[in-house]
């Protein structure tokens, strides 16, 4: 009996529904103190006065720290451009300037508020284009002194935090002989991950080492960042993970952890806890970056794309985080999934006086696919072609070579995706059923499964159950509580309820690259499968003596070790485990896995830090929308997804990721937006003004999984969770533009823009007369 592809309840489900689960914000230590941060109220300025005397004398206060109390070092995930506390300059609203530890949270916050802080404001660098101008103020006048966290330096200068440029021959020639040149410009705003659990951390300094308790997607990255900021070697930091209340990329880099650790050291080892208010969390979260994307295509009379130029300018915010690695994703998305001649790509990441941006599910891809798929609609419309037919005509096929030289052996799956969507929502029927203010949009994408390393130990207990020791995190997706659990159960022939996966602890479990890029089921699942294989081998070896059979003739199944083909000749795993413990020693297995980067052409671009897309998957989405011409509100009536998933390990988990990712994409398309004022400060500051999708907003997604098992993945699994967010903005924007008969190229598509578009194109809106009888 298999548990792969079966509906298995998640192992952490009951503790979550009953309120027993201990999240980061719930974690407490005996005698724990509370911390609070003083954060910059302005986006750009120079600190002229910082006096902590009065704050330090307030009731209950144990310590007040500023830059003078922290090691004189710079830290950072990719580039070491950050200090723990602002020293002279402040570069974004919310930047930490001082930290307090006190007996209670209220005392800590009161003391932080009592610190005397004076800042001479400076003009904020906000506009992405102006930031590039030679006369723009520099966010980091000392940018040349920064060094990468590892490896060689990368293209960057002044306010340009990273740059990736591909300039193949033949682009200008193709534009010169084009039948038509189609140009578009797209604007995308920032999106807040808005996990419901705000960030928190508990730090403890004991026995010369730091221990940090946190609910985090990537505990080993916290270890590294704390070690950088506090200037100790990585092994001097232990990170213990707790149940995580959502992350979506925002909990991949350290946040409050180094402050909690340093405060604990300064107060003499008492645990210190920090927790963000929702506003602190929103203001300082590494949100999805805003970006400006320009696309130009040279097309012939049939719509073949002879050449293309894509320029994207994305906002890095004041410090770099993970972002420089991601600038080259523009190269991989520049053609979308369509045939295209030489493609020039210029991708720049700009420093600004705004909160540092970072990873959010579908990094960079959401606005790049929005641009590419809106542009495809534009070309089709200009040439009088049906938008779906045009895509099918230009769709890449097996063996397609992408701009980075990567060859996609299985890109033909895309056509299968279009067919699957067609079977659920036939395009011609949707067109025939058109009504006023209704529109449809379609789009497609390819995407990566994060390849980074992971490891697991499978430890057999003498009762026949197993523990899986790993630093992997279940961020809610079920990748651990279902995926890894099912994979180990399947391999060992035991029920999933007999598999217990540990919470992350960097003192115990080996390196894991965290819950990112849909990697956990595939990478940690594969590592766990290999570890379970070792357990199986050991069980067969010991059982061979007990069953008086050759080990090669034995199999592990149904909770037993048995002779193949002789089901009666078997012995329970538990008995083998006990026998093993007393003869050869306790049984455990170890597995490690990493996906190699697919071959690419290193000369295709400069600044190619994310060189290719390992374990690619393919995606086709369709949306039908209805617009209220009075209010300008857009309602998504239908949403269809066909997605290549390798193999479904957990149907509930897979659907949950598709449904949840599409929902975040609908929010991104229609209303979620952290708007930046001219002063560099966000306009939205709470969940009241930052509107999230509600139960009343979202239709059930119609989902068709496409299974093409990957021989390298555990039971064929590829990444699933990240990609559903890639296309909603694209296909909804296409659908709204279709409904109105005018292009809407800025996201989110807010009611004011819809109304303006309706008024601006009154003659183009489909009226009742245009509907076929």
């Amino acid at each position: 009996m298999t548990v792969i592809g079966e509906r298995v309840p998640r192992s952490d489900g009951q503790t979550k529904v009953s309120g027993e689960a201990i999240y980061g914000v719930d974690y407490a230590e005996p005698g724990m103190l509370w911390g609070a941060l003083l954060r910059s109220p302005v986006s750009a300025g120079r600190i002229t006065r910082l006096d902590t005397t009065a704050a330090a004398a307030m009731p209950g206060v144990h310590a007040v720290l500023t830059a003078a109390d922290a090691p004189d070092v710079h830290a950072g995930w990719v580039l070491r451009d950050q200090r723990l506390f602002a020293t002279d300059a402040v570069r974004y609203e919310g930047q930490p300037i001082a930290a307090v530890a006190a007996d209670t949270l209220a005392q800590a916050r009161a003391a932080a508020a009592a610190i005397v802080l004076e800042i001479e404001p400076l003009p904020a660098v906000v506009d992405l284009v102006r930031a590039m101008a030679p006369d723009s103020p520099l966010v980091h006048p000392g940018w040349e002194s920064y060094v990468p966290a590892a490896g060689p330096d990368f293209p960057r200068r002044g306010n340009i935090a990273a740059e990736c440029i591909a300039d193949p021959p033949g682009v200008d020639e193709a534009f010169a002989r084009a039948h038509r040149v189609i140009s578009d410009e797209f604007v995308a705003q920032r999106q807040y991950q808005a996990y419901i659990e705000p960030k928190s951390a508990v730090g403890i300094f004991r026995d010369g080492r730091y221990t940090v308790h946190t609910a985090h997607q990537f505990p080993y990255n916290v270890r590294d960042r704390v070690s950088q900021f506090l200037d100790v070697r990585p092994s001097a930091v232990r990170v213990v993970g707790h149940t995580i209340g959502g992350g979506f990329g925002a909990k991949l880099d350290a946040s409050l952890e180094p402050y909690a650790a340093l405060l604990s050291k300064v107060v003499g080892g008492s645990a210190v806890k920090l927790v963000n208010t929702r506003t602190e969390d929103l203001l300082t979260c590494p949100c999805r970056e805003n970006a400006l994307t320009r696309l130009r295509s040279a097309v012939d009379a049939d719509g073949n794309i002879l050449a293309r130029e894509l320029e994207v300018i994305a906002d890095n915010g004041a410090y770099s985080g993970e972002m420089p690695w991601l600038a080259s994703i523009a190269l991989h998305c520049a053609r979308g999934v369509y045939r295209c001649g030489p493609t020039r790509v210029v991708s720049r990441l700009m420093y600004t006086n705004t909160a540092p941006t970072g990873a959010f599910r579908g990094v960079n891809g959401t606005y790049l696919y929005h641009a590419v798929e809106r542009h495809m609609d534009h070309i089709a419309t200009e040439l009088g072609l049906d938008r779906r037919d045009y895509r099918l005509q230009q769709l890449i096929t097996d063996g397609a070579e992408m701009p980075n030289g990567q060859v996609l052996a299985d890109a033909g799956i895309l056509r299968e995706g279009f067919d699957a969507v067609e079977s659920v929502a036939p395009w011609a029927e949707l067109q025939a059923g058109r009504r006023p203010y209704r529109g449809i949009g379609i789009g497609a994408a390819w995407w990566v499964t994060n390849p980074m390393p992971g490891t697991a130990v499978v430890k057999l207990h003498e009762d026949g159950t197993v523990a899986v020791i790993t630093a992997a995190t279940d961020n809610g997706s079920g990748a651990v509580s279902m995926g890894v659990t099912q994979i180990v159960a399947e391999r060992l022939g035991i029920p999933p309820t007999d598999v217990f996966v540990t919470m992350p602890d960097t003192d115990v479990a080996g390196f894991d690259a965290g819950s990112q890029g849909s990697r956990t089921t595939r990478i940690v699942g594969k590592a766990s499968q290999l570890a379970a294989d070792e357990v199986v081998e050991k069980l067969r070896g010991v059982a061979a003596g007990l069953l008086e059979a050759a080990a090669d003739d034995l199999e592990v199944a149904d909770g037993t070790v048995r002779v193949k083909g002789v089901p009666g000749n078997s012995i329970p795993i538990a008995e083998v485990a006990v026998a093993a413990t007393n003869t050869v020693g306790p049984v455990q297995g170890t597995g490690s896995f990493v996906t190699p980067f697919p071959d690419f052409n290193p000369g295709c671009a400069t600044g190619l830090m994310f060189p290719s897309f390992p374990t690619p998957t393919y995606h086709v989405h369709l949306a039908e929308v209805e617009i209220d011409p009075v209010t300008g509100n857009v309602r998504v009536l239908r949403y269809v997804v066909a997605q290549e998933v390798g193999r479904v390990i957990s149907p509930d988990g897979t659907y949950g990721q598709v449904m949840g990712g599409v929902t975040q994409g609908i929010g991104y398309a229609l209303h979620e937006s952290l708007r930046i004022g001219e002063d560099g400060r966000y306009r939205e500051r709470t969940l009241e003004s930052y509107r999230l999708p509600l139960a009343t907003d979202i239709p059930r997604v119609e989902f068709v999984p496409l299974e093409h098992p990957d021989p390298d993945g555990p039971f064929g699994a590829k990444g699933v969770a990240e990609s559903p967010v890639l296309l909603p903005a694209a296909v909804i924007a296409n659908a709204v533009s279709d409904a109105i008969g005018a292009p809407l190229n800025h996201i989110p598509i807010i009611p004011e823009d819809v109304l303006a578009a309706i008024q601006g194109s009154a003659g183009d809106v489909r009226s009742d007369e245009e509907v076929a009888p």
Binding site: V17, G19, I196, T277, R278, G660, T663, Q664, L687, L692
Partner: protein, 158 residues
Amino acid sequence: MSAVELTFTVNGRPRVVEIDPAETLLGVLRDRLGLTGTKEGCNEGECGACTVLVDGLPVDSCIYAAAATAGRRVETAEGLTHDGLGRELQAAFVAAGGVQCGFCTPGFITTLVAVLREDDKPSEEDVRTALAGNICRCTGYSQILDAVAATISGRNER
């Protein structure tokens, strides 16, 4: 502020606690009674993670004065584990994939207990409307609605 004594019932047990008069119900539940199953997501009554029942009605405990619960009945996620309907909903959430990160889940289940006690067969549209004060960032709500549907049909079978 001088402390005052609050006498109320929490999950069926009479409790007496010293509180500050301005304290929220959420603060009293989490910090004084250790009932951390009720979550703080926004502290402004937007997200619904802190939903508890006061005399059977759902409230956002983060903006609800603890003092206002004097002499009243408070139910939290922990207590609903011992309630027939609460247990059914909890099991249905797990079975239907209605739980991902789970941080919002206690608030959802609490709201839904109140809804289904009032009307044991609400339409999906009614359920969606009733849940408009609870934000889930993970699931997109469909599997939560599946869990509610399963609970409704399970009850009707008996």
